[in-house]
C-alpha cells in the first residue's frame, strides 16, 4: 500500500482533499468531539533519531481518532544497535501495525522502508531528504490563515541550505503558483539545484540577504533556525544571524493578515515580543501537525472522513 515518501506522491487535488478533511477534523483534534474513525488500527512509530513534535503529533493524531500506537522506543535499547537491518526492522513492525511513521538519519530510508513493507510508510524525515508531513501541516496552516494556497507571496528565511523543511515547502508552494522570496545569509542560501529546479517548474523566485526589506508585502514569513555550527567562527555567526531575527518592532508596516511561521524549535530568530502579535502563527502551526496527520493517516488507510464530522462525532 502506498505511503507518503515525498510530496510528489500527492497530486494538488489530493493535497486539497486531505486539507479539507483536516479542516473538518479540527474539533476532534482539539478534543471537543470524539470520533473513533481509526479504532482497532495501530500506528508504528519508528523514530531512529530524536523527534519531539513529529513523533508526539503522530501519536496524538492516532489516539484522537481512537487508534493505538506502538513505539520503537529509544534506538539504543532496540535491535538496531545489535546490527539489525532496516529491512528486518520493517518486516517485524509491518506485521504488528497498519501504518508506520518513520524518521531515520539516512537519506532514502523512507523509500527503502516503503519498498520493504506492505503497510503505508509516512516519511517523518530521512536525513537531509524529505519531510512531507511537515509540508502538509505547513500548507494547512497557510490555507487556514489565507483561505487559499494560490498566488501568495511567501518569504522563506534563515538556513535555506540545510533545512529540508524549506526545500519540500518551496516545491509544494511552487505547485500552487506562489511567489517565493528566499532571504538568507550567503553561506546558507537555497542550494542552486533546488532554485533552478523550482524555476524550471515555473516558480517566481527572488533571492536576497535582506530579510527585513522583504517582509512588508509578504503574506507568509517562514523563519528557520540558523545553526551556529554552520559558521567558521562565532563572530561570523553573530554578524549573520543578527540580521535574521524578527522583533515585534519590525512588524509595523507588514500586511495585517501576514503570518509568521517556524517549524520549531526556535532559538532567538523570533523574539518573544512577536508571540503576542496577531502575526505569530508558529504555535498554531505546531498544533496543526496533529490535525494534518490525522487527515493523512485516514487518507492513507482509506478511511473516509465524514462530510459532517459534528453530527458523526460524539461528546466525551
Amino acid at each position: 500500500m502506498a505511503g507518503l515518501i515525498t510530496m510528489d506522491d500527492l497530486t494538488n487535488e489530493q493535497i486539497i482533499n486531505i486539507l479539507d478533511d483536516a479542516t473538518r477534523l479540527l474539533p476532534v483534534a482539539k478534543g471537543e468531539l470524539y470520533l473513533p474513525l481509526l479504532q482497532g488500527r495501530i500506528l508504528g512509530n519508528l523514530f531512529f533519531e530524536p523527534s519531539t513534535r513529529t513523533r508526539m503529533s503522530f501519536e496524538t493524531a492516532m489516539k484522537r481518532l481512537g487508534g493505538e500506537v506502538v513505539n520503537l522506543g529509544d534506538v539504543k535499547n532496540s535491535s538496531v544497535v545489535k546490527g539489525e537491518t532496516l529491512f528486518d526492522t520493517i518486516q517485524m513492525v509491518d506485521g504488528y501495525t497498519d501504518i508506520i511513521a518513520m524518521r531515520h538519519p539516512r537519506q532514502g530510508a523512507a523509500q527503502y522502508a516503503q519498498d520493504s513493507a506492505r503497510v503505508p510508510i509516512m516519511n517523518g524525515g530521512d536525513g537531509a531528504g524529505h519531510h512531507p508531513t511537515q509540508t502538509m501541516l505547513d500548507l494547512f496552516t497557510i490555507r487556514q490563515a489565507h483561505g487559499t494556497l494560490e498566488g501568495l507571496k511567501v518569504v522563506l528565511a534563515g538556513d535555506l541550505r540545510y533545512g529540508r523543511t524549506v526545500h519540500s515547502l518551496s516545491h509544494a508552494l511552487t505547485r500552487f503558483g506562489c511567489e517565493l522570496i528566499f532571504a538568507s545569509p550567503k553561506l546558507l542560501m537555497m542550494p542552486e539545484e533546488i532554485v533552478s529546479d523550482l524555476r524550471e517548474h515555473g516558480a517566481n523566485v527572488t533571492e536576497t540577504d535582506d530579510l527585513l526589506g522583504s517582509i512588508n508585502d509578504a503574506d507568509v514569513v517562514y523563519m528557520t533556525r540558523i545553526q551556529k555550527e554552520r559558521f567558521a567562527d562565532d563572530d561570523e555567526y553573530a554578524r549573520c544571524a543578527g540580521a535574521y531575527k524578527l522583533h515585534a518592532d519590525h512588524l509595523g508596516d507588514v500586511k495585517s493578515e501576514m503570518i509568521i511561521m517556524h517549524p520549531l524549535p526556535r532559538v532567538d530568530e523570533i523574539h518573544a515580543s512577536v508571540d503576542s502579535t496577531r502575526h505569530a502563527c508558529y504555535f498554531n502551526q505546531a498544533f496543526n501537525g496533529v490535525v494534518a496527520r490525522m487527515a493523512l493517516i485516514c487518507y492513507l488507510l482509506g478511511v473516509t472522513v465524514p462530510a459532517d464530522v459534528e453530527s458523526e462525532g460524539g461528546a466525551f
Partner: protein, 158 residues
C-alpha cells in the same frame, strides 16, 4: 611483438568480444566499468578516436577469449548505451548482443552518496538507480534521489 601482428590483433580476433561504436574517448571508461584493467590476463586491443560515418569518431575495444555476460552488458549500458557488442568465435560473429539502458538500472552499481540508506551493504533490497534522461545521461538513486556522477559510479560497480 611486431607491428604487423599488433595490427592484425586490432582488426580480427579469433575468440572473444568486440565492442564497437563506443562514444569517442570513452573506451578507457568502458574498460574500467567492465573491470578489465592492467591486471586482467586476457589480451585487450583498444582503438580510440577512429573515424565513424555514424558517430563522427568512435572507440573500439576487442577483448580476446572472453565473452561479456549480461551483468557486464548492463554495466556497459551506463557508459556506452548505443555501443554494438559482437561475440566472436573462430574469427566469425557468432552472436550480436543488445545493450538495453531502460528506465532503471538494478544491482549494477550502488549509489555514490555517503549517507544513502544503501551504504549499509547488509541491507538486502536491490541497488536501484533511475535513468532520468538518456542523453545527456542523468541518473538518480531510487532511494535517496541524489544525482549520480558517472566517474564516481564507476568506483561503485557491484
Amino acid at each position: 611483438m611486431s607491428n604487423e601482428h599488433s595490427m592484425r590483433r586490432v582488426t580480427a580476433i579469433r575468440n572473444g568480444t568486440v565492442i564497437d561504436h563506443i562514444p569517442s574517448g570513452q573506451a578507457l571508461r568502458v574498460l574500467e566499468m567492465l573491470g578489465i584493467g592492467g591486471k586482467s590476463s586476457v589480451p585487450v586491443s583498444l582503438v580510440m578516436n577512429v573515424p565513424s560515418k555514424k558517430m563522427g569518431a568512435k572507440d573500439i575495444i576487442k577483448v580476446e577469449d572472453r565473452e561479456l555476460t549480461q551483468t557486464e552488458l548492463d554495466r556497459l549500458a551506463l557508459v556506452a548505451p548505443d555501443a554494438h557488442v559482437a561475440i566472436i568465435r573462430a574469427y566469425s560473429v557468432a552472436e550480436k548482443l543488445t545493450i538495453n539502458l531502460g528506465s532503471e538500472v538494478s544491482n549494477v552499481v550502488r549509489c555514490t552518496f555517503s549517507n544513502c540508506i544503501t551504504t549499509n551493504l547488509r541491507e538486502p533490497l536491490p541497488h536501484r538507480l533511475k535513468v532520468v534522461s538518456r542523453d545527456p545521461l542523468h541518473i538518480r538513486c531510487h532511494y535517496c534521489e541524489r544525482p549520480q556522477d558517472l566517474d564516481e559510479l564507476i568506483k561503485n560497480v557491484l
